[in-house]
């Protein structure tokens, strides 16, 4: 199952914005030979029914990600800081709008 010369162009990751003001979310990936083709393919593949008001395409090779095996130690500095959550604090009885 070694990689064999692919004639479909490099892989791109596609992010769509569903409504203006909303964050961009990963929609999927596709093959294209350049960025214009990537954008047009992304439109035809991920927004045939007006699902997007905005589109980003990024070469998959440029994405940097946390390795799954490293995820636990990478994220654990946040684990013991419960004072970052509002529920950590006691609100005196009778106080409102806090």
């Amino acid at each position: 199952m070694e990689h064999i010369t692919d004639s479909q162009g490099p892989l791109w990751e596609v992010f769509t914005q569903k409504k203006s003001g909303q964050p961009y979310q990963h929609a999927g990936s596709l093959h294209a030979f350049d960025k214009e083709m990537a954008l047009e393919n992304a439109r035809d593949l991920f927004s045939r029914r007006g699902e997007a008001t905005g589109l980003w395409v990024v070469p998959a090779s440029e994405i940097v990600a946390v390795k799954p095996g490293d995820a636990a130690p990478f994220f654990d500095p946040a684990d013991d800081k419960i004072y970052r959550h509002p529920t950590f604090y006691e609100v005196p009885e009778g106080v409102k709008n806090l």
């Binding site: 990689h3 064999i4 093959h31 350049d34 593949l45 045939r48």
Partner: protein
Amino acid sequence: MELQEKLDAFQQYIDAEEKIEPKDWMPDEYRRHCIRQISQHAHSEVIGMQPEGNWITRAPTLRAKKILLAKIQDEGGHGLYLYSAAETLGISRDEMIRQLHEGKAKYSSVFNYPTLNWADIGAIGWLVDGAAVTNQLSLRRTSYGPYSRAMLRICNEESFHQRQGYEIMTKMANGTPEQRRMAQDALDRWWWPALMMFGPHDNNSPRTYNGIVWKIKRAGNDELRQRFIDKTVPQAEFLGLKIPDPQLQWNEATGHYETGEINWDEFHRVISGDGPCNRQRMEHHKRVHEEGAWVREAAEAFARRRKAENLTEAIA
């Protein structure tokens, strides 16, 4: 970690309904199972464009033609979602297409039947897409993350396919006697192939066990087939059409329809290449792939030149 420990941790993770992502450790057999299932699913979407494509130039109205074009375009898109999901497991798109052309990868046997009259387009949407969506709704919960996400997207789009098919059937079943005869003829020919789409009985399906334990599949072949039968029989009754199965009957006690046995000889014959249209489907796919080679080469050359030009500009 010892292999057994890794396997146990993997199983626990899956039992907790967590999703497996591309870079996660997974047993080789899990990877192979996913590649086989997802690529077969992708090939089915793409080969499935052919029987419907047969009617684009002969659709009875402009409205019908536009709908059919949109539906076939969706099927192509579904193939692309699935190829991408399979690629995350380390197989290239080229390799999958090669496996298809060499007959090593299969696609759903249902697409090896011909579309003989316009009602067949209705029957495909209603029955073939209806069966596919029954399977795909269940697969939304598959344990492999990219596959699950592709299924969610596909299910959202498939609901239009089934409705447009049923609309055609409704029109034909309520039309002239000749149209009505065509509708019944289409049902007669597509009913059994649609039931075969769910695959062999579970006690006869060697891969069901692993697939269920690893939650790649979320329901057995027979259970999914029964779900499809139970929802489809009343739809046929509404059309006033007759399901071509003399043994079909409602079982009050179980709350399910009972059917006659599927012709498994036919199933195995068509799966192994000897159906009415196998050769035609594969020849068409190979020809179009080869004829499109120059487009891919030109696009690659263009991208290379643009890159070189940009580099020169950046230096200057």
